[in-house]
Structures are given as C-alpha cells and as structure tokens.
Symmetry: C2
C-alpha cells in the first residue's frame, strides 16, 4: 500500500497528461495504493470527469499556485508556498503521502527534496540517477546525473552503495555489478578523484565492483548494472545520449534500440538519499511517462526502498566507524 502524491500541474502538457497517466497507473499499481492529484481542484475534477475517471479513485488536493517550467527554482519555491510542488513536499514531510512525483520544474523539485526532506542518516550527498538502455534489452543505472558537480572519492563510493541498493530493490537484480566511469580500464587511469575512488572500490565488500568502464561501452550491456560517476560527468553523458537520440529521430532513423532512449519509457529520475521517495519526470512527459513514474513511486514504497537504503548507509554513520 502506498499513498502517492502526484503534481497534477507539472509538465508541459499538464494537467491533461498527468491525469491520463494517473488513470492508466491506477490499473497497475498495488490494489490498496492511492493516488493524490495535487493542483487546481476545478481543472483536475473537470478532466477526471471528461475522461470518465471515477473521482473515488483519486484524492484531489487543492494547490492554488503553479511553479512554471521556466521560473527560477529558488525564488519560486520560496515564494509560491501554495504551489503544487510545495504542497506535495509539505504532505510528504507531514506523512500524509509516502512518495511524491512531478514532471514540473526540475530545480524546484530538487530544492523541495533537499530543503523539505532530511538526508538519510549517513548520507554524504543525495544524488539523482537515470536509466541507460542497454543493447541486451536491460537497463543500467547511472548516478549521479546532476546534483553534485564536485565530489570526493568517498562520495563516489557511497553512490556505488546507493546504486547497488536501488538495483536490488527496484530492478530486481540480486547481486548488482557496479562499475566506475573512466577513460581507460586500467587502475591508474582518470582524474585524481576517480583514481582514489577506484582504490576504495577495489577493496569494497559493500557492493560488487567490476572495475572501470569506458564510455564507448556505455550501452553494450553485460558489463555493469550500476555505473558511478559525478553529477557533472553523468549529466553530460545522459544529455549526449538524449541529444544523439533526438537528432537521429529527427533525421528519420528508427530502430527499436534507439527508441528505448525515449524518456517516456522510464519513470523519471529518482532523488536518492533523502527520507522519502521523490521522482522527477521529464517536462515533456507523455501519459505513459507519468504512468511509469507513478508505478516507480509505488514500487519504491512497497519494496521499502528507503528502509533498505537506510540499512545500507549505516556503514557511513560515525558510530559505525568507531566500532
């Protein structure tokens, strides 16, 4: 059972796409789970009626304001305290919902996550992750993809721990293989931080380290389930793939593998390391993307992702190191 809050006003095609996605999600989520649509009450009710969604399926939570896609996240989050994003985070903090998802202003979602929620005990730096489609049909989790541009080796080590838990709990991989993104397969390759991280990971008993991965093998499959890097490099890798997909699509190139780069197949970007599941969707999310985002939030709650992360992060608590 999960109570999932969803920002009905978030995304370029909100609230229509959000509500359509929520209707679709309803058929697939845990039978006892509930969806809370947060936003303009009148509009939401109207669209629900229009699409024949029983109002009994959804809880509509009024929020009078909307943080627009182009707004400065810091200012908007501070001022629009009755925005659908702010209301969502308030509900999360107050325990009225178990997870919150939005395809709205990414910056505001990150600020909400970091300001409203607490970091899990032991967490050094919360991060965000993304799925890379692999040619073998599977996916690889890559983290961080944007929150932390300058990190220490210990933070990269922790990303490996977090990614490994996520792969177990959310992707159903029993013993996830973790690789470090680098410019060569050898130990002595890479930046100073990456070299140091390699040293730490080589000794790791907290996850299954398989070594460095070069970027030409990103999509090949069979090497790793989790790829660790900093938020600067991870964001660039992710955007390069997105950009290349967008370009070849525009050129009329079409292939099932390439189509998997379409973000609508993914549930969105989870914020990892905070006390509740938060998922950030792409601004141009289709109903399918919204549906997947809700399913992801539902799975995170039902599989106790936060509890499992908390357990794994114990090794980073000061107490632990004093033992």
């Amino acid at each position: 059972m999960a109570r999932i809050g969803i920002d009905a006003m978030g995304g370029d095609f909100a609230p229509e796409n959000v509500i359509l996605g929520a209707i679709d999600a309803y058929a697939s989520i845990n039978a006892e789970s509930k969806i809370y649509l947060i936003g303009n009450q009148v509009k939401i009710a109207e669209i629900c009626r229009h699409y024949g969604a029983s109002s009994g399926n959804f809880f509509i939570i009024p929020a009078a304001e909307v943080i627009e896609m182009g707004e400065s996240p810091v200012r908007a989050y501070a001022r629009k305290t009755d925005s659908s994003i702010n209301v969502g985070f308030d509900m999360l903090r107050e325990g009225k919902i178990d997870a919150f998802a939005s395809a709205g202003n990414t910056g505001a979602m990150l600020i909400g996550s970091l300001k409203t929620l607490t970091g899990l005990e032991g967490v050094l730096r919360p991060c965000i992750s993304a799925m890379f489609p692999l040619v073998n049909g599977k996916n690889m989790l890559i983290l961080d993809v944007g929150l932390n541009t300058d990190v220490k080796a210990e933070v990269l080590y922790q990303f490996a721990v977090i990614g490994s838990v996520y792969a177990k709990v959310m992707m159903g991989i029993e013993k996830p293989k973790v690789a470090l993104l680098n410019i060569g397969s050898e130990e002595e390759k890479g930046s100073n931080v990456v070299k140091k991280a390699y040293g730490l990971m080589q000794e790791a008993t907290d996850f299954d380290f398989v070594g460095n991965m070069e970027a030409n093998l990103l999509f090949n499959g069979g090497i790793a389930d989790v790829l660790v890097t900093d938020g600067y490099v991870g964001n660039i890798c992710l955007k390069e793939a997105e950009g290349m997909y967008a370009l070849v699509s525009a050129l009329g190139v079409n292939h099932p593998f390439l189509n998997r780069f379409n973000y609508e197949f993914y549930g969105g970007t989870p914020v990892l390391g905070v006390t509740s599941p938060v998922v950030i969707g792409h601004g141009a999310s289709t109903p399918l993307a919204i549906k997947n985002m809700i399913l992801e939030a539902d799975r995170a709650v039902n599989n106790n992702l936060i509890g499992k992360l908390e357990e794994a992060l114990k090794i980073f608590r000061p107490k632990h190191t004093n033992n």
Copy 2:
C-alpha cells in the same frame, strides 16, 4: 612544402594500410611535400613494389623495432629506441622531418610528443583534440580529449585559445566561436573549475566566447566551432559518441550523418601545444584514414600551424603579464 614522417608499422593493418594511404595521399598533398615511410625497410619496399608505388615518391627510413598496440607505452618507448615511433620523434627533433603521424600505440605517441618535443613557449598543458560531426555538415573541434584529466580554469582558457587558432588555420574559420561544455546554459552552472573558467572566458578578447554548451546540443551545429572541456570529460564524450555509432552500425542502422562518426573520415587526433605537428590515428585506420592523417600533417606544416599557435600563446608568457 612539408616533409611528413609516417609510422609505416603503426596500426592494426600496418604496413599495408599505411602504405596504401600514403600512395593515395601523394596525389593530394602539396606538390613539393615528401613522405617518409618509417619502419621495416624490406616489407615497406615489397609492399610499395606490389602496389606499383614508385620508390622515388617515398623515402624509406629503416626502424628495426615496432611498439605493439597492446604494449605498455612508457616501458616500450624507453626500451625500443629503434622503434618506428622512436625514430619518427628522433627525426622530428633533429629537424629531418616537419611533422610525424602514426596510427600505432597512442600512449607511446603521447609520450614521444611530450618527452621528445618541447612545449611551445607559454603553453600550460599540451592537449589532444578531436572532430565532432555536426548535423549541418560542418565539424566542431573538441579539446582536450584525453591528455589532462585535472585542469585549472586557466588551462581551459588556454585550450580555448589553442582551439581557436586551430579552427582558423586548419578549418578555415575566420572567427571561430568557442563554447564551454557544461551542464546548463547559465553562468552559475557546473563544477568549480568550469564556473571559474566561464568567468575568465566571459572577459576574453583572445577568442569569441559564446557561452556554455550542454551535451544534448553537441552535434546540432550552428552553436560553436570549438568546444572546450578537460581531458577526462572530453574523452568520455568522444567515446560515448564512438560507442553509440559502433552500436547502431552493428544493429544495421545506416544514415549519412551517423556514417560521419566513422573515424576514417578524420585525419586523426592532433597533439597541440608542442613544437611540431604530431597526429595520432586510430588503431584500426583504413587507407582513407591514413591518407587524411597525412593531408592533415601537410596542411599543418604548410599553413604554419605551429607559428600561429606560438604567436597566440605569447599572452601566456611571463613577460607578457609583466607588461
């Protein structure tokens, strides 16, 4: 007129592909330019005869050893002093050739460049660059793509100067537009080093800075002619594109734009910031790739790339800053 040394033993398909490429190049290079084939004298002469290349076209320079593709570059360069790569760099240092190119062991080529040649006066860190194909039919120079994994903001600034000169001299662009690779278009985005570099570049009068470029726009064209980043990130970007191209090719996806990611259209990777033109080709170079590498070396000499770089790097000399 240029005297171009080429490592006849370098690459997975040497010496055949190298000699075939050299024969092709002969028809296109400056009429007075000369090609020096360095390597196993007997084999080279035999292949030249086999393909009907007049021995008068080439100078064959004997070198008894070969640094293999898989060898440790440091050890091999130190021990195999009569390898084709070592002989090439010796000739370059002694002024017997004007430029040196090889599709052989990349590490050994880098070590040869840095050990045998001097850095140009004012250069902070030599670097290597690559061409990204743009969807508008043009190319964008990206640097550094692997030599410097940890750099200061001043080094990124200098890469912008070097890239700008290269784009003018080698790509014929009158006023090259220079961008900084980043994870957002805004000034405050990126790692600490990148933010500082943005500040320096914004004030630049030494090149035409157009701001940050996000990785989803890498191949779009019309934004920049030169893209600056550090060698860790640049190498990852380059390899991601190569990897994606290799994958989609293997899947049977075919499009003229994608085909331009095939390295055989490019002359190889120039080493920039040292006192002579050095070009490093891909190990699997075809005769066309070798030909293009030789043409690139010829153009670098004839267009006085080194002199133009020397001139531009004057601003980094201590004298200059004391003025």
